[in-house]
C-alpha cells in the first residue's frame, strides 16, 4: 500500500494502485476520441455522452456495491433487473398509473431495493452461493421481462423522454449521476462502509470481531438495489420506451466495466471513482471505434476491442507490484491531474488547430453535434495513420488562435507546478490530508480550461466560432 494513503480522497478506498490502469486508459481514450472527433467536447457532445453512459455507470455502481460485500457476489441479474424496472414502468405508465416523477422514482428504487433485499435474504438464510442466486434471478427476470413486454415498444412519460435528448450538459440525468456518486462518497465516510469492506475482505474476521454481518450484507444489497433503480430510470430516459432484452445486455458490459475500474471480484475492494472510470472507458472505446467507419463489421470490431482491452488491462494490473516497489509515493490523484493537463492540451489542440477536419465534415460542427459520431464519413487509410500525429500548418487565423491559447496552456502548466510543489511540501510535513487542496486545484483547472476554450480572446471577446472562416 502507498504509505500516505490518507492523502487522496476516500472515494477510491484503498484501491490506489489499481486506479493506475483505468486512469491511463481513460486519458488515452479521451485524447484519441477528441482527436478523432473534436465535437465530443461541446456542450451537446458531452450532453449526449452523459445520457448514453449514465445507465452503464449506474449499473456498474450497483454491481460494485454488492461486489465489495464479498463471497464472489457478482450480481449477474443486474441487467435483467434494469430491464424489469424498465418494462414494468412503461406498462404501468401505459395503464395510467405512474405519472409524476416522484412516483416513478419511488417505484424504480423500491423495486430495485425489494429485489436486492430478497437476494440478500436468500444468500443469508438459504445459504447458497450468491452467484447461483444471481444466475437464477438472471434467467427468471429475463424470462419475465419478455412475458411483460414481448417486443420493444411503449412510450415513456413525456418529461422523461425530454431528458433523453441530451442537448446540454446539465441534464437531469447528470444530476442523478452526480447525486448517486456523492451519495456513495458520503457513505464511504461511515462506519458501516468500514464494516462492509472488512466483511468483504474476510467474512470470518468480521464475524468474530462483532460486525453484524447479516445487517451489513442486507445494507449493501439495498444500496445496490437503489443504484439499479436509478440505472433503470436513466436507461428508460435514454431509449424513451420499453425494451425487454436490451437491459439484459448491461450485465456483461457492467461486469467488464467494474473490473476495468479496478474492483476485485473477490470482495473488499472497489470504489465509485474506479467504477465511473471503467464505465466511461467502455463508452469511449465504443465512441472511438464508431469514428472509424468499419461498415458491416463495426460491431465485431467493437467486440474484439472490448475483449482485448479487458484482458490487456487485467494483465497490466500484474505489473502494479513492480511499480509500487519503485514508486513509493505514487498518488493516483496527482497522476490524474498530470494526465488531465495533457488531455486538456490535446483538447485545445484538437479544438483550435484542426480546422482541416472540421472543413471536410461540416456536419460535425457545433450545429448538429449530437449526431457527430454517426455522421462521420469513412476516412482514407493514409489519413488514419497520419492524421492524429500530423502537425497542422497554421494559417493566419489559426496562428492567432494559438497565440490566444498559449497563455492558457502556460497558466495550466504553472498551476501544475504549484500543485506538484504543494503536494511535495505537504507530504514532507506531517499534514497528510491534501485532498481538499488538490480538489480545488483540479476544479480551478477545469473551470479555467472550459472558460478559455469558450472565450480565447479574453473575457470581453465573443465566444469563438470554430466554423467561421
Amino acid at each position: 500500500m502507498v504509505p500516505d494513503a490518507a492523502a487522496a480522497p476516500s472515494q477510491g478506498g484503498r484501491s490506489y494502485p489499481f486506479l493506475l490502469v483505468p486512469i491511463s486508459l481513460f486519458f488515452l481514450l479521451l485524447g484519441l476520441a477528441v482527436l478523432r472527433s473534436p465535437s465530443l467536447i461541446t456542450s451537446a457532445g458531452i450532453g449526449s455522452a452523459v445520457i448514453v453512459a449514465t445507465p452503464l455507470i449506474l449499473a456498474t455502481y450497483a454491481l460494485m456495491a454488492v461486489v465489495i460485500a464479498g463471497r464472489g457476489t457478482v450480481d449477474l441479474s443486474v441487467g435483467p433487473l434494469i430491464g424489469f424496472v424498465n418494462v414494468t414502468l412503461i406498462q404501468l405508465h401505459g395503464a395510467g398509473v405512474l405519472e409524476s416523477p416522484l412516483a416513478v422514482f419511488a417505484y424504480a428504487i423500491a423495486v430495485g431495493a425489494a429485489y436486492q433485499l430478497l437476494f440478500a435474504l436468500i444468500v443469508i438464510y438459504v445459504r447458497v452461493q450468491p452467484i447461483i442466486v444471481s444466475l437464477s434471478g438472471y434467467l427468471a427476470l429475463s424470462g419475465l421481462n419478455l412475458v411483460i413486454l414481448p417486443r420493444p415498444g411503449g412510450v415513456a412519460p413525456q418529461w422523461m423522454a425530454d431528458w433523453g435528448l441530451g442537448t446540454s450538459i446539465f441534464s437531469p440525468v447528470l444530476l442523478i449521476l452526480v447525486l448517486a456518486s456523492l451519495g456513495w462518497m458520503l457513505f464511504t465516510q461511515t462506519a458501516f462502509f468500514t464494516h462492509l469492506r472488512l466483511m468483504g475482505s474476510d467474512e470470518r474476521a468480521a464475524y468474530t470481531s462483532g460486525v453484524p454481518i447479516f445487517v451489513v450484507r442486507i445494507g449493501a444489497h439495498l444500496i445496490s438495489g437503489c443504484f439499479a433503480g436509478l440505472a433503470a430510470i436513466a436507461f428508460t430516459a435514454l431509449i424513451s420506451s420499453g425494451d425487454p432484452s436490451q437491459g439484459t445486455t448491461y450485465t456483461l458490459i457492467a461486469v467488464t466495466a467494474l473490473v476495468l475500474g479496478g474492483a476485485s471480484l473477490a470482495g473488499g475492494r472497489g470504489g465509485v471513482f474506479g467504477s465511473f472510470l471503467g464505465a466511461i472507458n467502455l463508452y469511449l472505446i465504443t465512441f472511438v471505434l464508431a469514428t472509424f467507419n468499419f461498415g458491416a463489421v463495426q460491431s465485431f470490431v467493437t467486440n474484439l476491442a472490448y475483449g482485448t482491452i479487458l484482458v490487456v488491462s487485467l494483465l497490466l494490473t500484474l505489473i502494479i507490484p513492480f511499480i509500487q516497489r519503485h514508486l513509493r509515493n505514487f498518488s493516483p490523484l496527482l497522476y490524474f491531474v498530470a494526465l488531465s493537463v495533457v488531455a486538456l492540451s490535446v483538447i485545445l489542440h484538437a479544438t483550435f488547430d484542426y480546422q482541416s477536419q472540421g472543413q471536410d465534415q461540416p456536419e460535425t460542427g457545433a450545429d448538429q453535434p449530437a449526431l457527430s459520431s454517426q455522421m462521420l464519413t469513412p476516412i482514407d487509410r493514409e489519413q488514419l495513420y497520419v492524421a492524429p500525429l500530423e502537425v497542422a500548418a497554421p494559417n493566419q487565423q489559426e496562428s492567432a488562435m494559438r497565440a490566444a491559447a498559449a497563455p492558457v496552456i502556460l497558466f495550466i502548466l504553472l498551476m501544475v507546478v504549484i500543485a506538484v510543489f504543494l503536494r511535495v511540501a505537504f507530504s514532507q510535513s506531517d499534514r497528510r490530508n491534501l485532498a481538499p487542496v488538490v480538489a480545488v486545484v483540479i476544479l480551478a483547472l477545469v473551470v479555467l480550461g472550459a472558460y478559455m476554450m469558450r472565450h480565447p480572446g479574453g473575457p470581453n471577446a465573443p465566444p469563438v466560432n470554430v466554423e467561421a472562416e
Binding site: 437464477s136 434467467l139 465485431f300
Partner: protein, 454 residues
C-alpha cells in the same frame, strides 16, 4: 473413490435381480408396443438391467454400512421439526400451490395431476429422509430422484413424452449441452470458470463453415478448428492462471475477442458482414442430425460420442492418478503443491480441454443446423453453468465430477421438454428455469453457517 461395496445377503441380491428383470421385461414390452427396432430394444434392455442391478447394490450398500443412530432430543416433535424443517416447508408450499391452482384453473383437479402431486411430494420426502443416509454423492441421488420424478410426471401428462422419438431428441440436445459442459465441469473442479465456451462454440461453428467454403477438405477443417480450440483454451488457461481469481472476467474478455476476431476474419472479402454460406458435408450432418444413424442403429452418433466421453471421464477421474490429482488440487492447492502436483500444468490442461470440447460442440452444432451462426452458442453461457451447478459440482472446486454434470444436464433437458410439452413459451420456460435452479441447488449445495466455519 467408490466405497467398498459390502456383500449383501443372498435374498437381497435375488430380490434385486428379480425386480430388475421385471422392469426390463416391462421396458421390452413397452418398446415392442411402440414399434421400435429390435437392436434398440435389446440395447436398452441390457442397459436397464445393468443400471438397476448396480443401483440396487449401491443403494443397499449405503444402508448396510450405515449404523443407525438415535440421539435423545428435547422432544419428538421438536426434533422432527428441526431435522426436516426445509422438507416440511416445501411440502406445505407445494400443497398450497396445488390448492391455489386447483381453485384457479378449471379442470386442473384430475387424476394425473394428483398423481404428479404425489410424486413431487414423495421426491421432497425421499430427498430429505433417504438423502440424509448418503454420506457422499447425495446430490447425485437427489438429482436422479428429481430426474425420474420429472420424467414420470411428463410421461403421464404429455402425449408422446415417453416415445422413442422424444427421448431421442432429448438425448440429442442433452448430448450437445453435455459435451459443452465437460470443460466447465473440469475447470470448476479446480475452482475456475470458463465463460468463453459459448463464444468458442459460435466461433467454431462459423469458422468451420468458412474453412469448408474456402475449399479446405472437411476432415482437415474439423481438425484445424479443434486445434485452434485447444490453442484458445491454452491461452485462456495461461492468462487466467496469471490472474488468479479473475478467471470469470478473463475468459469473458477472451471470449469477446475471439468472437469478434473470427467474425472479422470471415467477413474479409465478402459483402455479407459475418454471414457465411457453404455446404456441410454429409458425414458431419449425419453425426449430429436427428435422423442420423450409428452403425445402422437409428440414433444420432453424437449421443454415442457423448456416452464414450462420459465413460472415459467418469472412470478416468475416479481411478487414474491424473484424476485424483485434479481433485487434490481443487480441494487444497497449497497441500497439492507440497506433494509435487504442478498447478500450472493442470490448470492450463483443463482450460485446453474446455476449449477443445467447446470447439467440438460448435462443429457438431454445424452438422445439426447445417448453417453457420455466431450466436449458436449464446444459450450455453448460462446453461453450462446451470448444468454444473444443478448437478452438484461446487464452483469453489474439489467437489463433484462429470457424472454429476451429466445428471444436471439430463434434469435441465427433461425439464425443458416438459415445459415445452405443456405448451409454455420460451420466456416462461426461462422464468421457470430460473425459479427452479435455486431450490434444486438449495436441496444439497448449502454452505454451512458462518458460525461453524471459524
Amino acid at each position: 473413490m467408490l466405497p467398498p461395496t459390502p456383500s449383501l445377503s443372498l435374498s437381497a441380491n435375488i430380490i434385486g435381480l428379480v425386480v430388475g428383470i421385471i422392469l426390463t421385461v416391462i421396458g421390452v414390452v413397452f418398446g415392442f408396443a411402440q414399434g421400435t427396432s429390435v437392436q434398440f430394444i435389446i440395447l436398452s434392455a441390457i442397459a436397464t438391467l445393468a443400471a438397476f442391478v448396480w443401483g440396487w447394490r449401491y443403494v443397499l450398500g449405503q444402508f448396510v454400512s450405515q449404523t443407525p443412530q438415535t440421539d435423545e432430543g428435547p422432544s419428538e416433535i421438536k426434533r422432527v421439526w428441526l431435522q426436516f424443517r426445509p422438507a416440511l416447508i416445501g411440502l406445505v408450499a407445494i400443497l398450497l400451490v396445488f390448492l391455489v391452482l386447483s381453485l384457479a384453473i378449471e379442470n386442473f383437479f384430475n387424476i394425473w395431476n394428483v398423481i404428479s402431486l404425489l410424486i413431487l411430494l414423495s421426491i421432497v420426502v425421499l430427498t430429505r429422509t433417504l438423502g440424509r443416509q448418503f454420506q457422499e454423492n447425495r446430490s447425485a441421488f437427489i438429482g436422479v430422484m428429481v430426474l425420474s420424478g420429472l420424467f414420470s410426471i411428463g410421461a403421464m401428462n404429455i402425449e408422446g413424452f415417453a416415445s422413442t422419438m422424444n427421448i431421442k431428441s432429448m438425448l440429442l440436445f442433452a448430448a450437445f449441452l453435455g459435451i459443452a459442459s465437460v470443460g466447465q465441469t473440469l475447470v470448476a473442479l479446480l475452482g475456475g470458470l470458463d465463460l468463453s465456451i459459448p463464444f468458442i462454440i459460435g466461433a467454431a461453428n462459423v469458422g468451420l463453415l468458412y474453412l469448408i467454403s474456402l475449399g479446405v477438405p472437411p476432415w482437415l477443417a474439423v481438425i484445424l478448428v479443434l486445434t485452434i480450440g485447444v490453442a484458445l483454451g491454452v491461452i485462456n488457461g495461461l492468462l487466467s492462471y496469471r490472474l488468479q481469481g479473475q478467471a470469470l472476467i478473463v475468459t469473458l474478455g477472451t471470449g469477446f475477442a475471439i468472437s469478434g476476431g473470427v467474425q472479422i476474419l470471415t467477413s474479409i472479402g465478402t459483402a455479407y458482414g459475418g454471414n457465411v454460406f457453404g455446404t456441410v458435408p454429409g458425414w458431419l450432418s449425419n453425426l449430429a442430425a436427428m435422423n442420423g444413424s450409428t452403425f445402422g442403429i437409428p440414433f444420432p452418433p453424437v449421443i454415442a460420442i457423448w456416452g464414450v466421453i462420459i465413460l472415459i471421464l467418469t472412470i478416468g477421474m475416479r481411478y487414474t492418478v491424473y484424476g485424483r490429482y485434479l481433485y487434490a488440487l481443487g480441494v487444497n492447492r497449497t497441500s497439492a503443491k507440497r506433494v509435487m502436483i504442478s498447478e500450472l500444468k493442470y490448470w492450463v490442461t483443463m482450460y485446453a480441454i474446455s476449449g477443445f470440447f467447446a470447439a467440438l460442440t460448435g462443429s457438431l452444432l454445424l452438422g445439426w443446423s447445417g448453417g453457420g451462426f455466431i450466436g449458436v452458442g449464446d444459450q450455453y453461457l448460462f446453461l453450462t453453468l446451470a448444468a454444473v451447478v444443478v448437478g452438484g459440482t461446487s464452483l469453489l472446486g474439489g467437489q463433484g465430477g462429470y457424472g454429476f454434470t451429466v445428471i444436471g444436464v439430463l434434469v435441465l433437458q427433461v425439464l425443458s421438454s416438459f415445459l415445452i410439452g405443456i405448451g409454455l413459451d420460451f420466456e416462461w420456460q426461462q422464468f421457470i428455469f430460473g425459479l427452479l435452479i435455486l431450490p434444486m441447488v438449495a436441496l444439497y449445495a448449502r454452505s454451512p453457517h458462518i458460525r461453524t466455519q471459524i
